[in-house]
């Protein structure tokens, strides 16, 4: 894992001092809320329906046990004893007092953490593959690149007042576990003629106008990457729309001028920017890469004993193959039946930290699906890990099943929401509580957003649910056929919306159609793509 040097630490410490000063000026009345807003937002502090919400960055979703324990400590000391892991691999706290914020940031800084650029119209936390460093299918570990981008984008003087927020994802595997092409910039690291570089996709996103990012450059060399990204961002900063916040994301610019024209403008800007000498030497990427060296694997290649049937089910569902023989990737579901997707109590956070320290070379990951990963668990330890998880109510064996729901906070917390998301997630999970039934349905990614901003990624759901306000009543639209994976697609609305119970019934009917029509080992998504909407529509509305 990356470790701060004195420079990194000084930057974060200076940020704490700066934000303390800003909060002091706000509380003293030297600044209006309108003037304070962009400053607090650039530091992840939102004013929600009931309280301030603080979002803490977990760069590319990677953290160690010491950092994880700090997250538990903050939940315990400053919030209501829990935290919420987000789709940007961050954590947010929903009940924060403004006057505590500087102290929280100061505590975070002691473990090399911060809340820098977790909101605002700037470059947000860089996200990545939660299996980075452990996946068998990766070309290289994407995390050093993500760290390089974290540093480049931190307090970027030109790109801190962009037309709108800006999200970058980096992957390096053929399987896309980070919804890369649904980002403002998606980077897929590839090897060409022996050298590593990035395929650059620009202009994807969800929100009210979902788009899949087109490829803008098939290969940018490692030592050109920052110049190229500066060029991408500069064209956007200059020409992205600022007249309408709903049309201000880079996807709209690219949609309006076309990918070819955007590519041409970026190429012209790059030819200029490249002369400025802003690219770090490859030695900097190598310096960062050294922090991500493989752990000292020493476990024998043994298969775990499957005698305990509950353990065997969890093993099959939540444990994934590792690139190192004798090891496995453990997914910890934060989606208990009837629970709030992504929430964990401080006690659970501590348990996960302890397990990482004892069994996963001190490392954890947060996934964009709001779960936690122990990336380096020896197979001989899997049973012990499972038992500890079970005791902490963290052993739900539902990874990628219908109850592994992504949901935004919705109208229970969010000032932008039109409808509640959490109760819908809870009702659907409860309806499908029978694990045999869930396993029979197989991989089924269900995602719920409480408004058109799509924080719950409903466009990318095999089944997506969008909550809208219809004449003062919560109404839920269903979409089918989305995917955030390498088979990326945007879901389509299937017809008129439903009330809360109606949407749960409609989802259930859709699964019955799937069961009747599936062939071989087709997933729900595959069957839907093959047979089309008609049979589903007939069953649901007929």
């Amino acid at each position: 894992m990356y470790k701060y040097d004195n420079y990194d630490q000084a930057m974060v410490d200076a940020r704490v001092a700066e934000f303390r000063d800003q909060i002091t000026r706000r509380i003293a009345g030297d600044m209006t809320e309108d003037q304070f807003k962009p400053l607090r937002l650039m530091n992840g502090l939102y004013l929600q329906l009931h309280a301030y919400m603080l979002r803490v960055a977990i760069p590319y979703g990677t953290l160690d046990s010491r950092q994880m324990r700090m997250l538990a400590h903050i939940a315990r000391k400053y919030d209501r004893d829990y935290g919420h892991f987000t789709t940007r691999q961050n954590i947010q706290y929903n009940w924060i007092k403004l006057e505590d914020c500087a102290d929280i940031l100061e505590e975070l800084a002691t473990v090399e953490m911060h809340a820098i650029q977790t909101s605002g119209n700037c470059i947000r936390n860089i996200s990545s593959d939660q299996y980075a460093g452990a996946a068998a299918d990766e070309v290289t570990d994407p995390r050093p690149w993500a760290e390089l981008l974290r540093q480049w984008s931190t307090f970027h003087p030109e790109f801190s007042y962009l037309p709108r927020k800006f999200k970058i994802a980096v992957i390096a595997a053929s399987e896309d576990r980070a919804a890369m092409r649904l980002h403002d910039i998606g980077l897929e690291l590839i090897r060409q003629d022996g050298a590593l570089g990035a395929r650059v996709f620009v202009g994807g996103g969800m929100g009210r106008t979902p788009m899949i990012a087109p490829e803008i450059n098939p290969f940018v060399k490692a030592d050109d990457l920052l110049s190229y990204l500066e060029a991408c961002l500069r064209v956007y900063n200059r020409y992205g729309r600022r007249d309408n916040m709903y049309k201000a994301r880079i996807k709209i610019l690219i949609h309006e001028i076309g990918a070819d024209e955007y590519r041409r403008q970026v190429a012209a800007e790059f030819a200029h920017v490249k002369t400025l000498g802003i690219d770090p030497p490859l030695a900097e990427l190598e310096r960062i890469t050294a922090f991500f060296a493989a752990p000292a694997y020493d476990a024998p290649d043994v298969e775990p004993d499957r005698n305990d049937p509950d353990f065997a089910v969890w093993l099959d569902q939540n444990v994934k193959p590792h690139k190192q023989a004798g090891y496995a990737i453990v997914n910890i579901s934060l989606k208990p039946i009837g629970g709030i997707p992504g929430d964990a109590t401080s006690q659970q956070i501590d348990v996960m930290a302890d397990l990482a320290e004892k069994y996963s070379f001190d490392e954890l990951r947060v996934t964009h699906a709001q779960n936690i990963v122990l990336p380096y668990v020896a197979k001989r330890d899997l049973y012990a890990v499972w038992q500890a998880l079970r005791d902490a109510e963290l052993a739900d064996a539902n990874l990628d099943l219908i109850s592994d729901i992504i949901a935004c906070p919705g109208l229970d917390y969010c000032s932008l929401a039109n409808a509640r998301s959490i109760p819908v997630a809870q009702k659907i999970a409860t309806r499908f509580a029978d694990m045999d039934r869930q396993r029979d349905l197989g991989e089924l990614k269900l995602k719920i957003s409480g408004c058109i901003n799509a924080c719950g990624h409903h466009h990318a759901g095999h089944i997506g649910i969008l909550g809208v306000d219809k004449k003062g009543v919560e109404n839920y639209q269903l979409t089918f056929g989305g995917s955030g994976a390498e088979d990326v697609s945007i879901g389509k609305i299937i017809g008129p919306g439903f009330d809360e119970d109606g949407v749960v019934d409609a989802v259930e009917k859709a699964t019955e159609v799937y069961k009747a029509l599936r062939q071989g080992d087709e997933r729900f998504l595959d069957t839907y793509r093959r047979v089309g909407l008609a049979p589903f529509k007939e069953a649901i509305y007929g």
């Binding site: 420079y7 003037q35 540093q151 030109e158 007042y161 500069r234 600022r242 770090p280």
Partner: protein
């Protein structure tokens, strides 16, 4: 009114003209750029300009940051002024993008500005100022 200026030369008294007016008659030495204007239109004339004023009608509109860098990257040495909705907490970024004078619409507290400019000893990325980026400090 210019409240903060980080240059040794004399303040230009000549009022600035719009970009269109400048491109039409072009004997002015001071120009004002609105957010919509293309800063690159000035590149052929940078030698004889002593002041370029960049308007920030709203602090949220960050186009002026790119305009400033583009002008400095093209070799502009004259005064580069940020005018309008310029707030304490934008000034450090503006300095990094090449602005060296500030005419905020609402007067700013000089102590707060000094603190804002003094807060960070380093920067991660190269920009239009003389700050040596951290990666360069690391690798000599």
């Amino acid at each position: 009114m210019v409240e903060f200026r980080y240059r040794a030369d004399e303040v230009t008294e000549q009022p600035s003209v719009t970009l269109d007016a400048f491109l039409d008659q072009s004997n002015a030495t001071a120009v004002r750029l609105e957010p919509d204007d293309d800063a690159r239109a000035l590149i052929p004339f940078l030698d004889r300009l002593t002041l370029i004023e960049v308007a920030f009608p709203k602090y949220r509109d960050g186009r002026g940051y790119s305009a400033a860098r583009i002008l400095r990257e093209a070799g502009y040495q004259g005064e580069l002024r940020a005018q309008g909705d310029v707030l304490v907490d934008q000034i450090a970024f503006m300095r990094r993008c090449g602005f060296d004078s500030f005419a905020p619409e609402s007067s700013l507290n000089p102590d707060a500005v000094a603190r804002a400019l003094d807060n960070y000893d380093h920067a991660y990325q190269g920009a239009a100022d003389s700050v040596v980026p951290i990666w360069k400090l690391r690798h000599g």
